[in-house]
Amino acid sequence: MSLVVTPGWYMTLAALLFAIGALGILIRRNALVMFMCIELMLNAVNLTFVAAGRALGNLDGQMAVFFVLVVAAAEVVVGLAIIVAIFRRRESASVDELSEMAG
């Protein structure tokens, strides 16, 4: 009989975070918030990797988390660059309209 928290608990929490993130992807329309929801889902992935690695006495789980962290950071950079590019385009479009009116 175990008194301490079992991996199943961690897995359940991870499943919960994953489902919350998925919900966010489905209902949010703001791209930045969607990125945040994806970060939540990746966080759930990390929790699963670490908990499973701990339960199995295996370091590979923690290695996987490192790579997930780095990839997630890189993806955020890419995503923000795309959003900034779109924002510039919208902004410049409105500026063009203004200059046309002035001319």
């Binding site: 175990s2 008194l3 301490v4 928290v5 079992t6 991996p7 199943g8 608990w9 961690y10 897995m11 359940t12 929490l13 991870a14 499943a15 919960l16 975070l17 994953f18 489902a19 919350i20 998925a22 919900l23 966010g24 489905l26 209902i27 949010r28 329309r29 703001n30 930045l32 918030v33 945040m36 970060e39 939540l40 966080n43 990390n46 929790l47 670490v50 499973a52 690695g53 701990r54 339960a55 006495g57 370091l59 590979d60 923690q62 988390v65 490192f66 790579f67 962290l69 780095v70 990839v71 997630a72 890189a74 955020v76 950079v77 890419v78 923000l80 660059a81 900034v84 924002f87 510039r88």
Partner: protein, 183 residues
């Protein structure tokens, strides 16, 4: 096991607190109508995850999470919000019409996933709570068996960096480019 035994273990308490904090912050990330607030609740969710990593004796990963995420990624998010001048007040970003099916989908996802993983991991235990992971072993694995992904991921970061700058920078007209080169 009875409730008294369960309460007598501090580890259970800490886990419950962190799990609740993490779940609450997660829900607020999804439901906050203010983008900045959503980003700050993401900090809460990640910080409680870092706490859980500590509870799982993965100290190095926990600290990396704090440094990389809370230190860098969240700041990046905040910059993104500022640069794109996302509305700072209430934002009607929720699409009301599709809320119910989405909620049902994610509840089913959670139910199935958690049921399956509780069944799958029923017999296992988290052993050795409090034993630190030897960071040296992690380092050796990273530069030994995992050296290929380690090197390749550096190209991923480089690509994200250079591509990101190119995509986000302001386009200059040909004349401006020439002028810049001349200097």
């Amino acid at each position: 096991m009875n409730l008294g035994d369960w309460i007598s273990q501090p580890v259970n308490w800490v886990f419950t607190l962190l799990a609740l904090a993490s779940a609450y912050s997660g829900v607020r990330v999804v439901t906050s109508q203010n983008v900045i607030r959503a980003a700050l609740f993401l900090v809460g969710a990640l910080a409680s995850s870092a706490g859980l990593f500590l509870l799982l004796s993965a100290e190095f990963v926990a600290l990396t999470l704090v440094l990389v995420y809370i230190g860098a990624v969240i700041v990046l998010f905040l910059f993104g919000i500022m640069i794109t001048r996302a509305p700072l007040g209430r934002d009607v970003a929720l699409d009301h019409k599709r809320r119910a099916p989405a909620a049902i989908t994610s509840i089913i996802l959670f139910a199935v996933l958690s049921w399956a993983s509780i069944r799958a991991f029923a017999g296992r235990e988290v052993t050795g709570v409090g034993d630190a992971t030897d960071t040296r072993l992690l380092g050796e694995a990273l530069l030994g068996r995992f050296v290929v992904p380690f090197e390749v991921v550096s190209f991923l970061l480089l690509a994200a960096l250079i591509g990101g700058i190119t995509l986000a920078r302001k386009d200059l007209s040909p004349a401006e480019e020439e002028a810049r080169e001349a200097t």
